[in-house]
Symmetry: C2
Subunit: 172 residues, 2 copies
Amino acid sequence: MQLTTKGRYAVTAILDLALHGGEGPVSLADISGRQDISLPYLEQLFGKLRRAGVVNSVRGPGGGYGLARDASAIFVAEIIGAVDESVDTTRCQGAGDCQGGETCLTHSFWEDLSEQILGFLQGVSLADLIARREVRRIAGEQDRKQHGKAPRIPLAMTGAGLDETRISAGAP
Amino acid sequence: MQLTTKGRYAVTAILDLALHGGEGPVSLADISGRQDISLPYLEQLFGKLRRAGVVNSVRGPGGGYGLARDASAIFVAEIIGAVDESVDTTRCQGAGDCQGGETCLTHSFWEDLSEQILGFLQGVSLADLIARREVRRIAGEQDRKQHGKAPRIPLAMTGAGLDETRISAGAP
DNA sequence: CAATAACCAAGTAAATCAGTCAAGTATCTG
DNA sequence: CAGATACTTGACTGATTTACTTGGTTATTG
């Protein structure tokens, strides 16, 4: 299982992009300033994200990045997959040779867990995240701090009743 | 998120204990031999597991470890919690000060993910794992390789219809 | 009392991560 | 077309963490 700040930063940055990309490209410098992520590190991450087809870039003055698709068609699992190796929790990366060529006792269990996590991440889109009240509140504060700019949230995306993404879990 | 070989080893070792603990204590040397985990490392892990109340120990010759409770009352989440710090996926360990004292844009999302994973792990008991056909097959092979011993599976625990632990995931 | 097995405390090599640096290339504005 | 802007690429590094070892102590059985 690889869920580190790399994946977290990527999701945060892309979400920032989704929030501010309403009109034209967003520069990494802007994202860096708002989200407190170092610029060169963002460059590294966005290189992978572009190659994975999550974002597209515009060069030259006034350039920057934009989402490659609608926010409702980009899922968190894609973003994490693009920058991290995987969300696999088995030791053998699913190969089944965990114990000297043999399958270890708990292999199938970790496979189930991985599937579980992946299923969750595949079910949450950027649009779902934007719809959260919490996200919009924080984004608004960040915009205010930055330049007094109004938050550029494409209101068409903020559906009602989606405030907290909740997916049914197993018996408690 | 801390899900490394430490947690995996702990679950595997405890499962081995559950499978072989039918009659009296099981020594770490036995588990080490069957599961290919270094003995001193097992000692480290079982120290934590004992302090967490998951297993109890008997010292001296013929001593070893046993489950502190019935296999149906010990859940994977406990085992991982005992050896790893947590299964939290937020950067700030849930404190909400991810971005220089402020809450970062994606904080609530990682909280949800953490809850999701924890819910899954809390819903799977050792008895559930023992009931898996896969686990019993592998355990049988391991026993045969070792000493030609018969697998000591407490048959009372192997309920039917539980072969694959499946917990309902969100919409795909 | 001797063998056994749990218990305990440091210490260490390797791997990984987060982040940096430097040099380069494409694109736009004036 | 010239300069500035901004993305692109790839190698590099310090710090942290992990997995595992060493060496010893304490309790219990026969």
